[in-house]
């Protein structure tokens, strides 16, 4: 079924058209992005349950953008009426474009604003609203109980799911775009305890769609509980360089944190990305081809971005060679390149930045068992926790929860935790010597730019074999 459009947008579209039309009488370029999103988060754990709209997922408002004095200014608001249009026009002219005083401004050209008009929706199988709070909570409770019953050493088994249904309207002189999108995700957190230390294992799944995700989550609870118990016997790892096999989620973290942030082209504009100097050069093993965009259906799939640029599939690394970055409209104008549809906002209240969407390595041809068998003394890395970008210097900081010892091509059953991945990104990517034949993507998490500006992304790829410095 197709995601429905928004009443708020439908009813107020004439007012937003009037707002853009009035602004165009004064400014060479004006646009408005209208957002109406609704998202719920459900969770069940030993301490009880939580149900509610999430403030990151639920918002109704708009952002006006005007071109003045060679650069851009924006006003974010959530009130629209005939009277409010007059107030906004006055505020933009008298206060917004004068902000910053006499300081010298960046100079940008006008956007191409090519003619485009469409209204598109994504598909879903199970509507969360129709399924209802009672059924969703009952399903999560069932998963929670199954996890708690697995072993008496399980301290807690938390289960959550969330969905967001968003509708966006983009209007400019030549554009009239509408989209209606829904994604859903779920996760299980299992805690076990050893003395004062609490161990946690996390697994998640996501879909461009609805509550069909719940069955996937349900199927993982036993494995999650088993690993949480295994973690009780984990040991700290002796720091050093190891031959590693990374699971698809860890591959995804490397793809996203270690490399993806470095090809966000607003960083090129600021001279903050080393990747700018390596265009056309080998930055990874010839086995590596990397994508970002709408070629897959995941939580960051959309039809147009928050600046009205139609989304695309960008090949970033082609057989080891860096061939393209990703960009928002303003960065593309500064660099003289074509925007790739990666201009995204945390909400209508925030600025656009270049952001990743669905970012992944293409799969290879190897079997996972052959990859493990090829390692004499190394680790299978699983369950990524977090990572931080370093686009300027391509340093890696990624945390993973689990390193499974491999000796003479076999998993020994010994687990190390927690583990910090460090090193130089191209060294790691060039060391990739095997890739599995199946890729997986996960979009349960959010991505920040630095420490803020959270947007929904997915990432992943196949199992990869690489040499990595671990601590």
């Amino acid at each position: 079924m197709k995601v429905k459009d928004s009443n708020y947008i439908r009813e107020n579209k004439p007012l937003f058209k009037e707002l853009v039309s009035e602004l165009l009488k004064t400014y060479e370029y004006a646009s408005v992005l209208v957002n109406d999103s609704f998202g719920m988060r459900y969770s069940v754990s030993k301490t009880g349950a939580n149900v509610g709209e999430d403030d990151l997922y639920t918002a109704k408002g708009f952002v006006v953008k005007v071109y003045e004095g060679g650069c851009y200014a924006e006003y974010s608001g959530n009130e629209i009426s005939k009277e409010e249009i007059k107030r906004i026009l006055s505020f933009v002219k008298e206060e917004l474009v004068t902000m910053g005083g006499s300081r010298e401004k960046s100079k940008y050209p006008l956007p191409a604003d090519e003619t485009a008009s469409f209204s598109k929706s994504t598909d879903y199988e199970i509507d969360p609203v129709a399924m209802g709070d009672e059924a969703i909570i009952a399903k999560l409770t069932e998963v929670h109980k199954k996890g708690m019953a697995y072993d008496e050493r399980i301290l807690n088994c938390g289960v959550m799911c969330a969905f967001q249904k968003y509708s966006k309207l983009f209007l400019s002189k030549n554009k009239d775009l509408e989209q209606n999108v829904m994604w859903s995700s779920g996760a299980i957190f299992v805690n076990s305890k050893r003395g004062d230390e609490v161990k946690e294992y996390y697994t998640s799944a996501s879909v461009l769609g609805g509550m069909e995700i719940l069955d996937t989550i349900f199927s993982r609870v036993e494995d999650a509980s088993k690993v949480a118990i295994e973690l009780l016997d984990s040991e700290p790892l002796k720091p050093g360089e190891y031959e590693c096999v990374c699971d698809p989620q860890t591959t995804g973290m490397i793809v996203h944190e270690a490399f993806g942030h470095g090809v966000e082209m607003d960083m090129f504009v600021k001279d903050r990305a080393l990747a700018k100097k390596y265009m056309g050069e080998y930055v990874a093993s010839k086995l590596v081809t990397m994508h970002d965009g709408n070629a897959v259906n995941q939580t960051a799939t959309y039809f147009f971005d928050d600046e009205g640029t139609v989304s695309s599939d960008t090949v970033i690394i082609d057989k080891g060679v860096l061939v393209s970055g990703i960009s928002d409209l303003q960065s593309a104008m500064a660099l003289g390149t074509k925007p790739t549809g990666n201009g995204r906002r945390e909400s209508y209240k925030r600025k656009t930045y270049t952001r990743m969407t669905n970012t992944y390595f293409e799969p290879g041809t190897d079997k996972v068992e052959d990859m493990i068998a090829s390692i004499k003394d190394g680790l299978l890395l699983e369950n990524p926790e977090s990572g931080m970008e370093d686009p300027k210097n391509w340093g890696i900081q990624c945390m993973v929860n689990i390193g499974r010892e491999i000796k003479d091509g076999k998993l020994t059953g010994k687990i190390f935790s927690p583990i910090v991945l460090t090193g130089y990104v191209p060294d790691l990517l060039k060391s990739i010597s095997m890739m599995s034949d199946v890729k997986e993507l996960d979009g349960a998490g959010m991505c920040g730019k630095g420490y803020k500006e959270w947007v929904k992304v997915s990432d992943g790829g196949p199992y990869i074999k690489a040499r990595i410095r671990l601590g």
Binding site: A49, E74, Y75, F91, E95, M99, D133, K349, R469, G471
Partner: protein, 424 residues
Amino acid sequence: MRDYSKIMSSCGVTEYFVTETVTKSAQLFFIKKKLDMRRFENTAEAEIRVFKVFEDNGTKFKGSAGVIVNLTDSDEEVAKKVRSAFYGAGFVKNKFYEFAKAAQSPEIVMESDLNGIALSEIAVKFSDAIYEEDCDERAFINSLEIFVNEKKVHMVSSYGTDVSYVKRSVEGEFVAQCKEPNDVETYQNFEYDSLALKEIKTLVKETLSMTRDRARAEKMPKAGDYDIVLSDKYVPEIFVFYGTRASAGFIYPGYSEYSVGDNVQGEEVKGDKLNIRFAATAPFSYEGIPMKERPFIEEGVLKTIHGSERFSYYLGIEQIGSYEKLVLPAGSMAFDEMLNRPCLHVVNFSDFQMDPYDGHFKGEIRLAYLHDGKGNVEFVTGGSINGSIFDTQSDLKLSKETQKLANYEGPRAILLKGVAVAGE
């Protein structure tokens, strides 16, 4: 304020809590020295939480569900959402609890020298102060973002809460870059509730200096165990462990076994004993509970457990709200004394995190000063630290020098012994 009682009554809701927030924010974005974008936010929203008390198999529950609305939404639109939330609350089987004692107060305007100045003017004052220090061609401001915010918060509840306050703050981030001999950068963020122009200038100056040093750092530290010195914004991250472990939401499910009277650093403390006070960052918590300075840890002994009203009720403790700001007195060791012994002083991580579950603190090193204890200092970069608070807390040292940050006032540096470092 909207008449919520009328809407709730029409929906059959008898218990609710509403937080209205009106936000105005002036935002400036710079690339190098040029103004790249001007933004202004003007929004008004309300978070509404409705509660339903019910019984199932003889057990009493209190379920709740929350919704978010615009202040300009019609009463009918709000009522539609409230009805849906109230229905959902009936399936949330949370053990019954009582609300905290309701507070009433006329609007409190939090004292600040930011008050009375236009938000956009404050943004200009901060940008001018920052660029005043940007006068070295080798190490300079690459980019800057400034957000000057004013939030008017008004909370009301069915059980008598009626409090409001106005708070202004300045937050943002900048990136310092140095191109030679190596092209490197340092990310820095800031948050103030005052016109802290002197403080921001000092931060810029120190960040530019740190970036110049990172440009000269090429070697990675050798792998091994080190005495680690952390300073500035990384110090409060260590104390996140204690703040989280002492929260009712962490104790109730058994993640933490803290109870008042515990020696949180262990029975034999060789180093500095912790003395920490909770401090308020707003007059009221998000549940409308009045916030004030309170003792948290004294001489290493836990004095107070904090947290939400629900988990505090379950534990049978006073419902005092959740605290984020910690205040510590000066420590026993001069910062210079810490650095006069062999140690690795890490001044910049790509990210530094304390995990309150397993007690591990870890991060990748972007710049550290390796002191040999004989006055020689080597700049190092790369590698990572991975330590455990359980292994280090009984013998830590805090500096005599102090610092003030948004959620922390206390020693500027901390010495942690025998921490594993991954490197060459």
